[in-house]
């Protein structure tokens, strides 16, 4: 049986391809086949290819692009869609395991569909090193499928280190107390060459911009060290921390969920602890240069 895979550059699509092989012989349709990006045109091309190949299933990476093209395909074909799966097995019905709550919860589900449509959550299944699938040719899109298309691109305003790529993040929560309270967080971040992050309590209060928010509805981060100051550790915050190598929690409440789910903890008032760490770094550096 033939299966279709929407291919984007990068690892997540290879992971989707790996799951797709369990359903049949994969054929790839590259996202770059339609330039500039026009998701309806890609969905239309996938729908045509489904017909031509009599594809038994369609896969894509659970990226923003993958999820949106697959939802458009699902609407066109009038089929159910299982988004952000970490496992899938063919059968009648097919079965899937998918992420909920940004990964804080898993769902086992049955997918009752003549053609399972599945997106695969990035970085949740290992990619095999099987062959690249043959590429499907995409004809010229219908004008109506180009109404939604990228017409311009805005480069990020260069506001320092991006959260998603930062090696170290100093992050503050409601416990920081105020917008001004972030001065000590910024000071420590400056000394470490770190990005500043925050919880949703902080962005809702208007203390920091939403671009600093870490978590399910913010940014997912993957630093060497994540320093959480005055953050309780709600599941939606922790959903952004799965890729963090080491977590240091600073909190006055030793029972806060983040204190129980960290690698290192310091108990007490962050308003004393954070400046003390900054001072200690300065001392260590001064010692190093004088010796």
């Amino acid at each position: 049986m033939n299966v279709l895979v929407l291919m984007e550059p990068g690892e997540p699509s290879r992971q989707a391809l790996t799951l797709a092989r369990k359903f049949g012989e994969p054929h790839g349709l590259p996202v770059q086949a339609v330039q500039p990006f026009a998701p309806d045109a890609l969905a239309a091309a996938l729908a045509r290819a489904v017909e031509e190949l009599d594809a038994g299933a369609v896969f894509a990476a659970g990226t923003d692009r993958g999820n949106e093209v697959m939802a458009r395909l699902a609407a066109r074909l009038n089929l159910p869609l299982a988004a952000n799966c970490i496992g899938a097995a063919p059968g009648d019905p097919a079965t899937v395991t998918r992420l909920r709550w940004g990964g804080s919860l898993l769902e086992e589900a049955r997918l009752h569909s003549p053609r399972p449509l599945v997106t695969v959550a990035p970085h949740t299944v290992p990619a095999d090193d099987g062959p690249q699938p043959p590429t499907i040719e995409v004809g010229s899109p219908a004008l109506g499928d180009l109404v939604v298309r990228v017409s311009d691109h805005i480069k990020p305003t260069n506001g320092g280190i991006s959260l998603a790529d930062a090696k170290v993040i100093v992050s503050g929560g409601r416990g920081v107390g105020s917008k001004e309270g972030f001065a000590i967080i910024e000071e420590l971040a400056g000394l470490l060459g770190a990005a500043v992050g925050c919880s949703r309590a902080v962005t809702s209060a208007g203390w920091r911009p939403h671009s600093d928010q870490v978590g399910q509805t913010g940014t997912k981060v993957a630093p060497e060290v994540y320093i959480a100051c005055g953050i309780s550790g709600a599941t939606q915050h922790m959903a952004g921390l799965k890729g963090a190598k080491r977590i240091l929690a600073i909190n006055s409440d030793p029972q806060a969920p983040l204190m129980l789910n960290a690698d290192y903890t310091v108990t007490g008032d962050l308003k004393e602890i954070v400046p003390a760490i900054s001072a200690e770094i300065r001392r260590a550096r001064a010692g190093r240069t004088s010796s």
Partner: protein, 254 residues
């Protein structure tokens, strides 16, 4: 101008998710509820657009009787009226949710004319299906742009900024359109006391759609294993600073 916003009631899960005995739902006995953050921004955007352009705004939700609380929250921020698609609390999959919302939207448009914009959250906070807005748009034959962090009216079109890895992609689509938005689109206002008072007397229309058998059928939920972090204490107060700096040095970040 006419604007609709579709929202979802979700539990505030706190630090740990606890499931019901049959593992088919979150045990919400001791939890509060809210509308998802993405949709809260959709509500705020709708209110701003109507404040600037005049017209009619409607909030819709498919959910249990208690979801009227979230409809009132939206009306407290300034939405004019609500349509409540009542369920018995069972979960609906993305496909059936979209079909029910579509019926309600079509019925409202038949009496009151088309919505210029229908807002959805990019994905629901709990089930994360990434599809309801796109399905409704396809059925209405309207353009749909997803994952928006900025929305600007330009005459009879709307300019949309979508967050992507290396910045933002821009789309300009004609109205009427369906837009799915993300938190960060704006900073939602807090409801004022008069706003809350007014919301109590704003109209809520109830409909009771029948739940079709889900084609994406939930079997059970699982709480994933923790990441096994060891929570080593470095001490308390300022005296812990040297131990912290040791950790930084060992991690190679100093």
């Amino acid at each position: 101008m006419r604007i609709a916003v579709c929202i979802k009631r979700v539990p505030i899960t706190g630090g740990r998710i606890v499931l019901t005995a049959d593992a088919r739902a979150i045990n919400t006995q001791h939890l509060g509820f809210t509308m998802s953050p993405h949709e809260e921004c959709g509500v705020e955007e709708a209110v701003r657009l109507i404040e600037a352009n005049k017209g009619d705004s409607v909030v819709l939700t498919l959910g249990p009787p208690e979801a009227v609380e979230q409809l009132r929250d939206a009306m407290a921020l300034g939405i004019d009226r609500a349509i409540h698609l009542q369920t018995d609390g069972q979960e609906w999959d993305g496909e059936s949710t979209a079909a029910a919302l579509l019926d309600a939207i079509r019925a409202d448009e038949t009496s009151n004319g088309p919505f210029d914009i229908i807002f959805f959250g990019n994905e629901s906070a709990d089930s994360g299906g990434f599809q309801v807005g796109l399905r409704v748009a396809y059925a209405l034959n309207r353009p749909c742009v997803t994952g928006l962090k900025r929305v600007t009216l330009e005459g009879s079109s709307v300019r949309c900024e979508q967050e992507v890895e290396d910045g933002r992609d821009v789309y300009v689509v004609p109205l009427p359109a369906v837009l799915t938005v993300k938190e960060g689109l704006n900073l939602p206002r807090y409801p004022s006391v008069p706003g809350r008072m007014r919301a109590r007397s704003k109209p809520v229309a109830d409909v009771t759609p029948a739940r079709p058998a889900p084609r994406l059928e939930l079997v059970k939920l699982l709480v994933p294993a923790g990441q096994g972090r060891r929570a080593e204490s470095l001490g308390s107060g300022a005296a812990a600073a040297p131990a912290v700096v040791d950790v930084f040095q060992k991690a190679g970040v100093l």
